[in-house]
Subunit: 452 residues, 2 copies
């Protein structure tokens, strides 16, 4: 099989010519060409193997044979839209439902996390009759225009960003760098009060301008691995009391990645049930698919608007076959258990690094969804942005793929395929030590979500 | 291979339980379960073969072996995001570009027609600095919230629809039922004047409320198979003069379906070049993928906003491999030529029906994108909605799949896979005659786009 069609320089030239310049590559100074991948490893055009610490989309491992087989066999048989009955669709919905609280029983299949979050907004708008949204600072919920509006991570990038009047940005419950930190006596209540204040302010404003839209609020929260002290149920109560709905965005963190639970919102306890859950990225191991799950009440309200919902590709038999195979592999290979074990091991290695190196300011995360925030000064918390970039490029030379994120781009992100092993984690740290001995900078490898 | 997992009744029950009630099935009184498909034929769980006259998404034929092979082989090798260099992406962009005017050279790969049209709006908003959109009455551009706003076909379905102030609905240039008809001396100018009037009104309103956003306009037109007399270049000039951009939505009609040209906008002549073209449905023969193509100027303006554009699944190597295979099959099997030939044959058969049966009011379309509007009265144009439904159900009994659309749901739609043959067309008419002899109603089988 031909590994590549063009020499790398030609690929780069054609990309410059024909692909939108807003679409960035990893390692822009010297991008990587990947021609094949298996499990947690990717291979470039020269056969060089890279350890992949960043591709959470390749959830059960790149090109997993069970997933490939399921997709290929179904493609050969039938791929059509959901206006025809098909067992894959209902079987997959049933399987997904079994992982969720009973109340969350109605599915809509779409093609991307962005489509899922946009539909979640439409469901909530229709159910509540109101347009206001509370979102968290630094959150990212997708690239379609409605989601740019509720993604401070994105709209802060714009020179002349204009925040929509119906979008209310709540404080990010960040105990390391946020408004209320570890030393606060009760940060959970403090952050929840912020949400409540936003609701009150919107109400007041609503009364002033007679804008009924602002009477009630919906909360759209990126389902983050929240610090223990900042639990979600409190703001959830505030939102419900105001007549709003709670949307849990599991696009990044669902499907067992957090280790102890299948869904990240379940970290908040059994009593906490969001009104809408959105899924994406890992759901199809790279195949374009996603899902919105909600309650019967919300689904019926949406139906009663009188508008049909049709998604050309959503819920097609191939996507569902692939989704089913992903669930099978997670179970069969106990990948949730692996995330718990290897994630724990990784955290311990990182804690050791933190003890040794002042550059590592904070380590946080759950399962195989972990971040390490780098700072130049542990008191002032000066972001070590350049250092984070430097580390990432140096690791690339060691054939380890990592990236940095967060508002200051100083948080090393670690969200590998779920088959990542303790040996892989060791390999990262061996490479790090090599680097640090040469460069006198600390390497501490971890990932953090955009909104943490 | 197991054709089905559940008996049909169980499938229906599970669907009611777990799939959003806004998601409709075809033939809701007695939906069809399809378990496999090949070419222009679909097969139910009992092996009954249906002739497919409606699935334009299965563009080169259901489960085409070349497309399946390309997808399966690439899935086995690598499926990852476009932040890594990959030859499939640039090769596919290059191949697509070769079908378009030279100026349209920059691609963005996304996952659905809706994502494509939303991105087109974002590109236009960023380039012009203005938010106003002109859309056509009855147009449908997608299901995400920004597109519902510009889709009268959708927002008219809502009980309490509220049209956004920045959306201006132009008359649909319908020579049969529209404001200016066949008997009008110059309908092209009349419809173009309507666009111009909308621009002027928005300007006036803009000046009054000092809303600079309304100073300039963009036009978003569903790329329709326009009646000859209503050409696009005239409104296009008006929009450009007002500083707006012209978006051609080729999601339904692109990739050779119109027969004489690869893109429907090319029917307007070589000199007509839209600023943005969006693609979808047929692009991947059912695989979730789509594309936006624009000019360097628009792409650079979007980049200069400072916001990165990243689409997790868009442009992945599997989608591009499938897209390339679809282009190969269109070429190798001369499907564009087939659309021209068989579409012409179909139109002739339909014209014969029209001569014989007063129920057929109008026949229109190009290539294998054809519609027949049914009316109870050729002067009053009373929509024959119930008759259209009746025909569709009766054809279903003959194992022929057809649907009705349009604002009155009285337009029979005909947009089969592009491998549809003259024999298939004959089969439809044989079935029709059988039906009509029994029921004394005319059957005239054709398709029409939602916005025609």
């Amino acid at each position: 099989m031909t590994a590549e069609m063009f020499p790398k320089e030609k690929t780069i030239d054609l990309r410059k010519k024909h692909i939108g310049p807003s679409c960035k590559v990893f390692f822009s100074h010297d991008p990587i060409k990947i021609v094949r991948a298996k499990g947690q490893y990717m291979y470039d055009e020269n056969g060089v193997r890279y350890l992949d610490c960043i591709n959470n989309v390749a959830h059960v491992g790149h090109s997993h044979p069970m997933v490939v087989k399921a997709g290929a066999e179904q493609m050969e048989l039938l791929n059509t839209n959901s206006r025809f009955l098909h067992d894959n669709l209902v079987q997959y919905a049933q399987r997904l439902q079994a992982t969720l609280p009973e109340k969350l029983s109605v599915c809509y299949f779409v093609n991307s996390g962005s489509e899922a979050n946009d539909l979640a907004l439409r469901l909530a708008w229709e159910y509540t009759g109101h347009k206001d949204v509370i979102t968290l600072d630094n959150a990212y919920h997708g690239h379609v225009s409605s989601l740019i509006n509720i993604s401070p991570y994105k709209f802060h990038q714009l020179a002349n960003a204009e925040q929509s009047k119906s979008v209310h940005v709540a404080l990010s419950p960040d105990l390391y760098r946020g408004n209320y930190r570890q030393d606060h006596p009760d940060p959970a209540t403090a952050y929840a009060d912020d949400v409540n204040n936003l609701i009150q302010k919107a109400h007041e404003k609503g009364h002033k301008v007679q804008n009924k839209n602002a009477d009630k609020l919906q909360q759209c929260v990126c389902a983050r691995v929240l610090p223990y002290q900042c639990t979600v149920p409190l703001p959830h109560r505030h939102v419900h009391q105001a007549g709003g709905l709670f949307i849990a965005d599991e696009v990044q963190v669902g499907f067992g990645r957090v280790g102890t639970h299948f869904w990240a919102f379940q970290l908040q306890g059994e009593d906490f049930v969001p009104d809408i859950v959105t899924m994406g990225k890992p759901i199809g191991n790279g195949h374009p698919m996603s899902c919105v799950v909600t309650t019967r009440e919300v689904a019926e309200a949406f139906k009663n608007s009188g508008m049909e919902y049709f998604n050309t590709f959503g819920g097609n038999p191939v996507s569902c076959a692939i989704g089913l195979a992903v669930l099978d592999v997670i179970e069969k290979e106990d990948l949730q258990g692996n995330a718990l074990r290897v994630g724990g091991y990784l955290m311990r290695l990182l804690e050791q690094q933190k003890e040794k190196h002042p550059l590592v300011g904070d380590i946080r995360g759950r399962g195989l969804f972990v971040g390490a925030e780098l700072v130049r000064d542990r008191v002032k918390l000066t972001p070590a942005t350049a250092e984070a970039q430097d580390i990432i490029y140096k690791l690339k030379e060691q054939h380890i793929l990592l990236s940095a994120d967060g508002p200051h781009r100083n948080v090393l992100k670690f969200k590998p395929p779920m088959c990542f092993s303790e040996e892989d984690a060791d390999m990262v740290f061996v490479s790090c030590c090599l680097e640090s001995s040469k460069n006198h900078i600390l390497l501490s490898l971890v990932h953090y979500s955009k909104c943490l």
